[in-house]
């Protein structure tokens, strides 16, 4: 099973896990990225806005999921990414993987989130104190993506 969703609606992690557990594999790994409410120098994030490149986004995520399924012989791979405005504590992204053994599920899950960060056309804008700032890409993300 490969499942790729890009949607403005909140991510239902329980439903996503139930779907991937249904593949009958022994190991399921997941990663969820959430809007942090960390108080930086400019105050806490009130809203996070996710812009994306419709069409290209889904294609990029599907390519990543295909690669993971082939490389780790996964029983299933799910990528759900939210777009539009969201608030602190809400889920931005969910990655789920299912495999016969834990090593494959865990590695594939880490691979998917690492590569999603550099290979999929999403852009984050943080609103703090009524003022919006585009999030800068981090060099550490490039390093993490290249290790695979």
């Amino acid at each position: 099973m490969i499942r790729v969703v890009v949607d403005r609606e909140p991510i239902d992690v329980a439903a996503e896990l139930a779907l991937i557990e249904r593949e009958g594999a022994g190991a399921v790994a997941s990663f969820t990225g959430l809007v942090r409410a960390d108080a930086g120098a400019e105050g806490a994030v009130e809203t996070l806005e996710l812009e994306h490149y419709p069409g290209a986004t889904e294609a990029a995520l599907r390519t990543l999921a295909d690669e993971a399924v082939t490389r780790w012989s996964l029983a299933g791979a799910t990528i759900v990414h939210r777009v539009g405005p969201m608030r602190a504590g809400e889920r931005i992204v969910f990655v789920g993987t299912a495999a016969p053994h834990r090593g494959a599920a865990l590695d594939a899950c880490a691979f998917l989130i690492d590569r999603l960060k550099t290979d999929a056309p999403f852009w984050k804008r943080e609103v703090r104190g009524g003022h919006g700032t585009w999030v800068e890409a981090r060099d550490t993300d490039e390093v993490a993506a290249r290790r695979w």
């Binding site: 490149y53 290209a56 992204v93 290979d119 056309p121 984050k124 585009w134 890409a137």
Partner: protein, 85 residues
């Protein structure tokens, strides 16, 4: 031949629109040349494309380096480094 330009994030904000149809002249063959040519359209375009090192591109929805020839592509996108996940 007409090319559909797409802009995202702060590139979109500086250009002032997310999408435009352009007809680049014959000598403009790579994405970098396309950006040079577009930068002359307005102050917003010039600002958006000022720092070439912070621009990324996709030709017909596939990520490419800026020195790629866009050939007969129908859609070229210019945007900052991605920050999803």
């Amino acid at each position: 031949m007409a090319v559909r330009m797409l802009y995202f994030a702060w590139v979109r904000e500086r250009v002032g629109c997310g999408e435009e149809l352009v007809e680049p002249p014959a000598g403009v063959t790579t994405v970098a040349q396309l950006v040079d040519w577009l930068a002359m359209r307005s102050d917003g375009h010039a600002q958006a494309f000022a720092d070439r090192g912070r621009l990324r591109a996709a030709v017909d929805q596939a990520f490419v380096p800026l020195d790629t020839a866009f050939g007969s592509a129908g859609e070229v996108a210019i945007f900052p480094p991605v920050t999803g996940g």
